[in-house]
Symmetry: C2
Subunit: 322 residues, 2 copies
């Protein structure tokens, strides 16, 4: 079992209080005594226990990170950002990857409460879990939504500015001379990418983009005479699907069809894929989630933070007609 200050005190024939203060460099303790205390503690292999301190102070110095689907590589960088920023603020990150079941998620959050986390960062959850989270956020533990939202709520978010992302995609297509465009989102997940995209297209007096929400719909749309010449996909994986379908019906990318993805996953940079895409500031999303959460923990008011995506131009887009 671990060495305690009590043991050190006994060993040195000092009072526990003196040892405690000595270790924390309290000015009221004589320099010589401090040195001896620190020295002895080191020799005995003492490591401060956060239990005692946390119990006393009421501060656990832990935040919880709740991530519903860690498989998406998107979150790997976010996690790194979270872990590093938390660490550099002397906070620990308690990690949880619940199964996508309501009961499971609530159990996880309760577990966080048991551990007395000071705040929770959440990346996705079942809709039913929101009610619990919002209550928690209101009277108790601050919550920040990170990376993506399942549902709009009054909880502050740190997310990519999807509306701007949609605008940027549309502008790129428009600059390349495209007129007939489409949007592909087989997950049917609500987001602002479509809004930004459509708004920009319409404001330029071009025909409203076709919205495809299934593989079949996309295929059908691409096979028509009056087919779109540019497609904005919900995410990189969807963009790959678009390219495969285009390939299967004999459409060359980018000569006959321009494609833009979203996320800039690792593989998108491969020469054989070479996808033009909107890169999200993943690491920064994680970092700012922590920054905002800590502010919230300290009682500061914060706002939802939107991070601009960046257009990475590669080989899947070109001037209309090649």
């Amino acid at each position: 079992m671990p060495v305690t200050i009590k043991m050190i005190a006994k060993e040195m024939r000092l009072a526990v209080g003196t040892v405690s203060q000595g270790l924390r460099n309290d000015p009221r303790i004589a320099e010589a005594t401090k040195r001896r205390v620190v020295q002895t503690a080191h020799e005995m292999g003492y490591v401060l226990s956060d239990f005692g301190r946390a119990l006393k102070s009421g501060k656990s110095n832990i935040i919880g990170y709740f991530l519903i689907d860690i498989t998406k590589s998107f979150y790997a960088d976010i996690m790194k950002g979270i872990a590093r920023e938390a660490t550099s603020n002397n906070y620990g990150v308690l990690f949880s990857a619940p199964l996508q079941e309501y009961a499971n998620e609530i159990a996880q959050i309760k577990y966080f409460e048991q551990k007395r986390v000071e705040g929770i960062i959440i990346s996705g959850c079942e809709p039913e879990t929101w009610e619990y989270l919002e209550r928690l956020n209101k009277n108790g533990i601050p919550v920040i939504v990170c990376g993506d939202y399942t549902k709009k709520s009054n909880i502050e978010e740190v997310v990519t500015d999807d509306f701007t992302g949609g605008q940027i995609a549309a502008e790129h297509f428009i600059n390349l001379g495209h007129q007939k465009m489409a949007y592909y989102n087989p997950e049917k997940k609500f987001n602002y990418r479509l809004n930004g995209f459509t708004d920009t297209v319409i404001n330029t007096k071009l025909p409203s983009p076709v919205v495809c929400d299934s593989k079949d719909g996309l295929k059908k749309s691409l096979s028509q005479a009056n087919r779109p010449t540019a497609i904005f996909a919900y995410k990189d994986l969807d963009a790959l699907e678009v390219m495969e379908i285009a390939n299967s019906i004999g459409l060359k990318v980018p000569e006959e069809l321009s494609v833009i993805g979203y996320d800039d996953d690792v593989y998108s940079a491969f020469k054989s894929i070479n996808l033009t895409t909107l890169r999200q500031q993943k690491n920064e999303i994680g970092k700012l989630s922590v920054v905002n959460l800590l502010k919230k923990i300290n009682g500061e008011k914060i706002k939802t933070t939107l991070l601009k995506p960046e257009l990475i131009i590669r080989g899947s887009t070109s001037r209309k007609g090649g």
Copy 2:
């Protein structure tokens, strides 16, 4: 601030001990009282604090996971396995992603000690950190090496059976009639894949595989008249590099060159990549790391666990000569 049993006791005019026992369904408390206690606790929004309990029991119910490079998608699945297995054993996972600096890593581990984690799972660290870890593992906190090792040590591992992986790759090539083979590992990282590969090739009386540890070396080797017709790459990303180089010098994959990767990253299944590769049981690696760590925490002896990789045959390998 959170509701405590003390508050509940005051509210109900009961003793704290009674409330504590009532909540934990102690048989000595009357059923009626128990119900009232549970009911009141619920109404007051009570959540048990692990501080008190941990302080009393000396058990934190937390393990630490130390992951040096979370960007590799390889670890995303491992983390999921770890988090889920830990959760189902009522353990929390304190996550850390230190920068690759010796001092930083030690600081992180000390932080784990402060939080009184009961065990540590580690995926990669600087060589200098090993000494500290081994000491910790010996007299104090159990450690498990997960997914990969930086250095061989006396700490038990949960890793893929790389030797067998190398054998499987060699056998596949041999079955396809290949005779001249090569191994490509630009990271120059030591591992048993090469051993298993080479052993099998030599035992079949075929010429020992050429080992390439740089892009240039690989290119040179592939340009010779007596070039290898099959290459085993250290990981999928390296296999992609092999394919790109092959392409750049006009060698068709798989007709003129067979390639096997390692890991089965997401993109390897893409039609445009279609890489034959050795899949690691990532989720299982995470899960068993926790299982073994908990055993170690409970004082059981455990052994290094090797998980068999599985050959996923796709389109990057074919019979010699097409």
